[in-house]
Amino acid sequence: MPEGTGALREVLPKQGTGGQHRPALPARRAARSPPSSPFAGQLSVEDTATMVLCKPKILPLKSVSLEKLEKLQRAALEAAQPPEAAPPPSA
């Protein structure tokens, strides 16, 4: 996931002139030459800053101790809840 590093980036490499000895035209800003044009050459794209997305998250695996701790804490929470649930119905 590379980040853009320059203001102007070459998108296509300089194309060969294929037997015809025509010099490649200098790059035009954000201009794209039509495919059938005889002026096929270097294409450069202006890099305006775009918004960045936050990256995908690899989830860390949990250790056995952590899972046991979580289980214990959950059990403690649940054990603490029934005594609270009992009085209101009787009240």
Binding site: E3, K57, L59
Partner: protein, 468 residues
């Protein structure tokens, strides 16, 4: 007597969590730390200073970071620290408990819960009534004493009584029993008397060289924020116990905490040479490869975990991500489906939906991506990354105000992330609000100084202001 012994040990085993791993540091310990020797530690010698990433490794441009500026690791244990929070507010925000997001205020808070669990499981009152116990009598019977100590320490969480028993027992054994010294050391550690604990562990080591004692002593050094001492201790231990997996793993963990990812990876590889089923090492190396742009290799590592029978939400989520980025599109969605099925709580579900959103962005289906990120927020309202990504999508549709609101939420939820700040800067610059853009760009630079786009933006803005 034998029955009593058995019952004691069974009850202890119910709530036993290996002390080597168990290490919840409360807020009080973090903020009111009196053990720090120097005001500002030299770089590379402290665990509390977030990475100056000396060992290389992926930058925050590629790898998500946690609250303290450290990149997220591949494996989380009870003792995974998140560094010293700079303000009280940040400390309160950091989720510290294993289960809920509410932070524990001091270490005793975490331990009381397992203790009360034991009282609740025994409806007729506690199995052993500690106040009526004659500790001296038990101290003289070593076999009973040891079982009793473990019960008091782990099941009842009564460190003071445990310490008394251990002290009496040590005296009775004329200070020749290394096991009691280690137990006293553990009690001192729990009470926060780290230097005394260090002394006890060192003397136990002199008497009997044990890997466990080395691990406990290293824990003490880490709590005293002396990672280099702990590293040296481990390396000396490796000379005496060559190839001992727990020691090598300890070294790797310390390097990871110090943000030296390349050394950590090296040591995790050593672990795997010794024990190629070590889950932690495989997970950490896998995540390093993923964020170093090598998802296929990461995929191999996570497949290995699957082979070993690890079967949970996180693993399938990671498999799905690796498959997608390694272009194995057939496995991607089924892995994510499995991950959703296995998710145990809403936070895990939110994580999976977030990653699915990324997959959707990757295939170009922005509507699906929008829905995935919304589902993330449904499951976890505090998911800063989802807010940020939703803002980017809204911006594409042209809803500037909504994007701005979402970005504000994201940046307030997660001030350590550079993405929301950078996006606010871009947004404000497009709209023409250069002052806001400049402040946001500065915050982005604070969070991630190496971001080239931020620097360019700042340069542009400075030139603009200079012209005025």
């Amino acid at each position: 007597q034998a029955a009593w012994n058995l019952k004691t040990r069974a009850l202890t085993e119910m709530v036993y969590v290996d002390e080597i791993d168990m290490d919840q540091e409360g807020i009080a310990e973090m903020i009111l730390d009196e053990n720090a020797i120097a005001q500002v530690a030299r770089p590379g010698t402290s665990l509390k200073l977030p990475g100056t990433s000396q060992g290389g490794g992926p930058s925050p441009a590629v790898r998500p970071v946690t609250q303290s500026g450290r990149p997220i690791t591949g494996f989380v244990r009870p003792s995974t620290q998140s560094g010293r929070p700079s303000t009280m507010e940040q400390a309160i925000r950091t989720p510290r408990t294993a289960l809920t997001a509410r932070p524990i205020t001091s270490a005793s808070g975490g331990y009381i819960r397992p203790g009360t669990a034991s009282m609740l499981t025994n409806p007729d009152g506690p199995f052993i009534n500690l106040s009526r116990l004659n500790l001296t009598k038990y101290a003289q019977k070593p076999k009973l004493a040891k079982a009793l100590f473990e019960y008091i320490f782990h099941h009842e969480n009564d460190v003071k009584n445990a310490l008394d028993l251990a002290a009496l027992a040590t005296e009775h054994a004329q200070f020749k029993d290394w096991w009691w010294k280690v137990q006293i050391g553990k009690c001192y550690y729990r009470l926060g008397l780290y230097r005394e604990a260090e002394k006890q562990f060192k003397s136990a080591l002199k008497q009997q060289d044990m890997v466990d004692t080395i691990l406990y002593l290293a824990k003490v050094y880490l709590r005293l924020d002396q990672p280099v001492t702990a590293l040296n201790l481990f390396k000396q231990g490796l000379e005496r116990f060559p190839g001992e997996v727990t020691l090598i793993c300890g070294i790797a963990r310390i390097y990871e905490e110090m943000n030296n990812i390349s050394s950590a990876a090296e040591y995790y590889k050593d672990v795997l040479k010794q024990d190629n089923t070590h889950v932690e090492a495989i997970a950490c190396i896998g995540s390093n490869h993923f964020y170093s742009d090598q998802p296929e290799i990461a995929l191999r590592f996570y497949r290995r975990l699957l082979q070993m029978g690890v079967y949970n939400c996180q693993l399938f989520n990671n498999l799905g991500l690796c498959c997608f980025y390694a272009q194995q599109y057939d496995m991607t969605l089924s892995s994510f489906e499995r991950a959703l099925f296995l998710a145990e709580n809403e936070e895990e579900t939110a994580d999976v939906w977030y990653n699915l959103g990324h997959v959707a962005v990757g295939i170009g289906d922005l509507n699906l991506a929008y829905q995935c990120f919304k589902l993330t927020l449904v499951n976890n309202n505090d998911y800063a990354e989802a807010y940020n990504n939703l803002a980017v999508l809204e911006m594409r549709k042209g809803h500037t105000e909504q994007a701005r609101a979402l970005l504000q939420t994201a940046s307030s939820l997660a001030p350590h992330m550079y993405e929301p700040h950078f996006n606010v800067a871009i947004l404000s610059e497009k709209v023409g609000d250069l002052q806001r853009s400049y402040t946001a760009a500065q915050k982005s630079e604070e969070a991630f100084p190496g971001h080239v786009d931020t620097q360019q933006l700042l340069k542009q803005l400075k030139e603009h202001f200079a012209m005025l």
